[in-house]
């Protein structure tokens, strides 16, 4: 009985403290962050669009131009990660620089750079997808699911 009461008291104290923390904790500047995300994310997409239009202008068909465009943007994401610029951009832009395909390049290259000191096999090789891995796994799961839905429902 006593122990049960102690447990209840502890939970109540924890809850009270949790409220205190939430009151005290500074709030992130949401509006400012959203604006940064919108502008930076938008700019990355505009750059992608410019490349796409240029490639289409060169006479590539839509599918090839799309693939080449993705390759160029991934390269740029990787390049700016290597130059040490992308992390500063991410600090400002948040999701604006994480969501576009350049963000995917960033997490892979950042991991590769980080773990190079542990060698190419157990460092780079083993850890390169440590952050991008979930995206790949759930991307595969989603594509298989959609494939099955198509197979069963839309024949």
């Amino acid at each position: 009985m006593n122990m049960e009461n102690n447990e209840k008291l502890k939970t109540a104290q924890q809850e009270e403290y949790h409220h205190l923390v939430n009151r005290t904790k500074p709030k992130p500047p949401v509006v400012q962050n959203c604006l940064w995300a919108f502008v930076v994310g938008g700019l990355i997409c505009v750059i992608g669009q410019l490349f796409l239009n240029y490639l289409l202008g060169l006479g590539f068909n839509k599918q090839d131009a799309g693939s080449l465009d993705a390759i160029i943007m991934v390269f740029l994401g990787a390049l700016f990660t290597g130059l040490g610029i992308y992390d500063d951009l991410g600090q400002k832009a948040g999701a604006g620089s994480i969501v576009p395909i350049t963000g995917f390049a960033n997490v892979i290259v950042a991991s590769a750079m980080e773990f190079k000191k542990e060698g190419y096999i157990f460092g780079v090789g083993a850890k390169i997808f440590s952050i991008a891995g979930p995206t790949l796994v759930f991307g595969f799961v989603a594509s298989v699911t959609i494939g099955l839905i198509k197979l069963w429902l839309i024949q």
């Binding site: 923390v21 904790k25 992390d87 951009l89 991410g90 600090q91 950042a110």
Partner: protein, 337 residues
């Protein structure tokens, strides 16, 4: 049965308070640019210190801090009898590898960012217990080794929240002796693990504040001292958010948050350095103590100092498993006497 030196529930009163005879603090560039830059013995120009990896750089920084603290008395590492140290790395590698070079008996400690107070308290016990005459207590942390172990790769573009803290690149080492000149460690309060169910690893100050307040409360209860006994009560690395919470808790506990309370994490950087809530890491309390704070004790600007180094005892594994963050704090009283 001999008279116990423990007073109250958690506090150890030293019969022959050990002397802190010399000390050294080594810091990284960012800490050097902060308001206390001139008080540190060495400010490194970069984070690698001519080593191949950040881990090796941290080891070097700790090792050099120990050597420098001893050399200030004209001593070599071999002149110390025991090396007490800890850091944030898995298996406390920075300390163990530093001990490999220093080559004296070594006890590794882990108290996360509370290690400076932990190593001081243990060292003082060893000396007052009559086991050793000269002990080195040290700790270190490195921004980039901590980032990669606890957070994300350095170049990854993640957005920090305002309650997050910046792990200090710093090392502090203190030489404790049974005889000599200098400020003395009069008592120490060993803290309990306090966990208030906080799970936000981007708000460590919030997770550790209850532990700090608990230890401070126990210290005053055990010793019968009043908060104004000390010229300065300084916590380790609660940061701005944790300090604000601690002040609220002080009021709740009936402890007056007098103007003589501060926090190393708040002091170490100035507001324009982009550190959000403040500094953290073992080195934060380590370099502030072995730099500006002991300097001021030596000058007589501070005669009674209570260092309450705070630690968050989680690991990335426990965090991913949804465990809350256990906090701890140890208090060490340093006095001119």
């Amino acid at each position: 049965m001999p008279a116990l030196k423990k007073k109250g529930q958690q506090t150890l009163m030293f019969k022959n308070p050990p002397f802190i005879t010399s000390w050294a603090s080594l810091v990284g560039p960012k800490e050097g640019e902060g308001p206390w830059g001139p008080y540190f013995d060495t400010v490194f120009a970069d984070y690698l210190l001519d080593e191949e990896s950040w881990e090796k750089a941290e080891t070097k920084m700790l090792r050099e801090a120990v050597k420098m603290a001893l050399s200030k008395q004209g001593l070599l590492p071999g002149d110390a009898e025991l090396f007490l140290a800890g850091d944030l790395m898995n298996q406390i590698i920075s300390s163990s590898y530093a001990a490999r070079e220093i080559n004296i008996p070594f006890l590794g400690l882990y108290g996360a960012c509370s290690t400076m107070a932990e190593s001081l308290a243990v060292g003082a016990m060893m000396i007052d217990g009559g086991f050793y005459q000269r002990v080195v207590a040290a700790t270190s942390s490195h921004h980039y080794t901590a980032e990669r172990q606890f957070r994300s790769p350095i170049e990854q573009g993640v957005q920090k929240v305002p309650s997050s803290q910046w792990t200090a690149t710093a090392a502090g080492a203190l030489v404790l002796q049974s005889t000599g000149m200098g400020p003395r460690v009069s008592c120490a309060t060993v803290g309990k693990v306090v966990d208030m169910g906080q799970t936000d690893v981007a708000n460590m100050g919030g997770a550790m504040a209850p532990a700090a307040v608990d230890t401070i409360k126990m210290h005053f209860q055990d010793t019968g001292r009043k908060p104004d006994y000390y010229d300065l009560v300084v916590t380790g690395d609660l940061g701005a958010v944790g300090t604000a919470l601690a002040r609220e808790l002080f009021i709740k506990e009936g402890l007056v948050p007098s103007p003589n309370y501060s926090d190393c994490g708040v002091l170490l950087y100035d507001g324009k350095q982009g550190v959000d809530s403040g500094g953290s890491g073992c080195g934060c309390a380590g370099c502030m103590l072995a730099g500006p704070l002991l300097h001021k004790v030596k000058n007589g600007e501070i005669n009674r100092l209570l260092l309450v180094a705070t630690g968050a005892l989680m690991s990335p594994t426990s965090t991913f498993q949804g465990e809350s963050i256990p906090g701890i704090a140890h208090a060490v009283a340093i006095e001119n006497m």
